[in-house]
């Protein structure tokens, strides 16, 4: 079963990379772009076959290593 962990900087935490991307998009003429936030996605292949258990496992991994919850929030989705 595949778990997809999406990690983003928490709201309120400065995201200078997102800001730089936003500036670049504006410079390219995409005036419709407001705030840009950048994060990362980590895909995990898990041996677990139960979706609920797989989600719990991935959340545990996110808390212990994948995300730094001082500055980041995370979301886990299970793909079949």
């Amino acid at each position: 079963m595949k778990a997809i962990v999406t990690i983003m900087l928490k709201n309120g935490v400065l995201d200078p990379q997102g800001k730089a991307i936003g500036h670049a998009l504006n410079n390219l003429g995409f005036d419709q772009v407001g705030e840009v936030r950048m994060g990362k996605i980590i895909e995990l292949e898990l041996t677990e076959t139960d979706a609920a258990k797989a989600k719990t496992q991935a959340e545990d991994m996110a808390r212990k290593l994948l995300a730094n919850t001082v500055i980041e929030s995370f979301k886990v989705e299970i793909a079949a």
Partner: protein, 220 residues
């Protein structure tokens, strides 16, 4: 004071740290590999030097914080042992939970390789006794992720309990919250900072501004 310097793959400032320790302590530090599970007997001070441990994969210091030796370092800190983390070492000990907060990408996105000025916030600690409170000294910086951050409550606690060790005294180039360059643990035995005092400990390096850190520890 017997020091042990930790070595993780990708660390590149350990020789600078060895020189600084050797000169001030008058004895050789032990070098400890990240896969070791115990510190050498008699270790008073654990030093985590700068560099790019594990290629800064995932987040700076995140991989090193999970290394086998870090369990022994946490036990050492819990026993009241001294720990010094500089640059990547600071990032590693925040990731390991030995100090609060985190180091974000520099606010201006640029890697900063230049000297900065640091203000000594307190001189009544084993790390800072050879400075005067309020002293300002020069220290080289070399980091891409030195923007210290923590939630407001943590920042207020650090200030309220007088746990800020150093602040940027000239420009706050990396955007750190409240100009914080280094912090202490509540028992004042763990110090983490981004700039590199170990790179100014001999006139041949262009100055001895950073030497009081090591002389303070040697006198403890």
């Amino acid at each position: 004071m017997q020091a042990a310097i930790l070595l993780f793959p990708g660390i590149n400032r350990e020789r600078d740290m060895i020189l600084a320790v050797r000169q001030s302590f008058g004895r050789e530090p032990a070098i400890v590999w990240h896969k070791d599970t115990e510190l050498p007997a008699g270790t008073d001070l654990v030093i985590l030097p700068g560099g790019f441990s594990f290629g800064d994969y995932l987040r700076c210091g995140a991989m090193a914080a999970q290394s086998p030796i870090m369990r022994a370092v946490k036990a050492h800190a819990e026993r009241g042992g001294y720990v010094l983390g500089v640059c990547n070492g600071f990032q590693i000990i925040t990731e390991a939970g030995l100090l609060p907060g985190a180091l974000l990408r520099n606010a201006g996105l640029r890697f900063l390789s230049m000297d900065t000025m640091l203000k000594v916030e307190r001189a009544d600690t084993v790390f800072t006794s050879k400075w005067d409170k309020g002293a300002v000294f020069r220290a080289p910086m070399a980091h891409g992720d030195g923007n210290y951050t923590a939630d407001e409550a943590t920042l207020d606690r650090l200030e309220g309990e007088n746990l800020v060790a150093f602040r940027y005294a000239d420009q706050n180039r990396n955007g750190s919250a409240r100009r914080i360059a280094g912090i202490f643990s509540p028992n004042l035995r763990v110090l983490g900072l981004m700039p590199h005092p170990e790179n100014l400990v001999d006139p041949l390096m262009g100055g001895i501004d950073g030497k009081p850190l090591f002389d303070s520890l040697a006198a403890a």
